[in-house]
Symmetry: C2
Subunit: 205 residues, 2 copies
């Protein structure tokens, strides 16, 4: 038998487990979910899970980190497709909101915040999430700087600007996840863009 096919099938089974794990973890957090549950949901025996993952912590952090990579890859690619800064900002907001809408399960976990615990694996995960965050902020800073050079943006500290923008996006996502809501999350794009660029003050009075 071709080792190639064997590997492909292995990865499929692994992915199936991760997919179920994501759903379950997102609904109930890390600790209250049991391996038995995940095994059950994905159609394997408990012991089989250990063929794919060393332990529960490893399963959990693998699931999160792989999805996170996907998210940043997706967003960054879309943003980079734009030439001008204004377009990049708008696309960033849009791509982010879209990703959240398509990955609500994952985002619940992500927003729930980090993880618990002190264990080696878990604090490694925590650190990677933090690193990922700052990396993303740096990515945003990068095109905001161009915007300042352009004259499009005011000369403010770029790190603060970037984290402000990110926080507006995140809070819209957060509220949308809290209230199983009426309109699409993406529809918040214009508001975020407007308030980020222009603020709330009425300059015409």
């Amino acid at each position: 038998m071709r080792a190639e096919r064997k590997e492909r099938e292995f990865n499929l089974r692994r992915a199936a487990i991760l997919e179920q794990a994501e759903k379950i973890f997102s609904a109930r957090g890390y600790y209250s979910v049991t391996m038995a549950e995940i095994a059950n949901a994905s159609g394997f025996a408990i012991g089989s899970l250990y063929q794919f993952f060393d332990n529960k912590e490893n399963l959990y952090s693998t699931m999160i980190l792989e999805k996170l990579d996907l998210m940043f890859a997706e967003i960054n690619q879309e943003v980079n497709a734009n030439k001008d800064v204004a377009g990049k900002i708008e696309t960033l907001i849009n791509a982010h909101l879209q990703f959240v809408e398509k990955n609500t399960d994952f985002f619940r976990i992500f927003l729930r915040g980090q993880s618990e615990a002190l264990s080696e694996t878990m604090s490694a995960l925590r650190q990677k999430l933090i690193d990922g965050y700052f990396e993303h902020i740096a990515f945003i800073e990068n095109f905001l700087k161009t915007g300042i050079k352009n004259g499009l943006l005011r000369k403010l500290p770029t790190h603060d600007m970037a984290s402000a923008l990110f926080s507006l996006i995140r809070s819209a996502a957060n509220e949308w996840l809290l209230e199983p809501t009426k309109e699409s999350l993406v529809s918040k794009k214009d508001f975020i863009l407007d308030i980020f660029l222009n603020g709330v003050k009425n300059h015409e009075q």
Copy 2:
């Protein structure tokens, strides 16, 4: 013996436990903390904790909810002391940042997000946190509305404006907690105020 004194002493002991619990929970989350640890840190035997709290969940959620009430009470009072809207906005930011600086332990828990679990108590806590959040947003909305009537602010959806403002505050707090940092958190006040009111766009070009 006066029942009064007895009660006072009971409350002191109870408060001592809550204080230690806050420190420990904030560092390591809910599940990885044991009752034995809390007992130890607060100088009681394990069994004694159960004189003050029904169980671990109850201890945890009591600690959070009491502190949360304190926070909102403190902030709202300061904000209400202002007459004009601009002052209220500035005071809101300031009071919030100040509270975070003085209660880092608590805020770590709060930002970590909600809690885990499905249990009755825990999902009740979760709901109360969410309710508290929306109540706070409504409180902010209230004076933003006045600002719109005044002509100080643009006519934007007040709920979105309020949650944008709150998210800017929270993200500053979050970053400050992540990076055990140089300058005080309160020093971010001016930036938040500026970006909230004026946005990042350079209108002079």
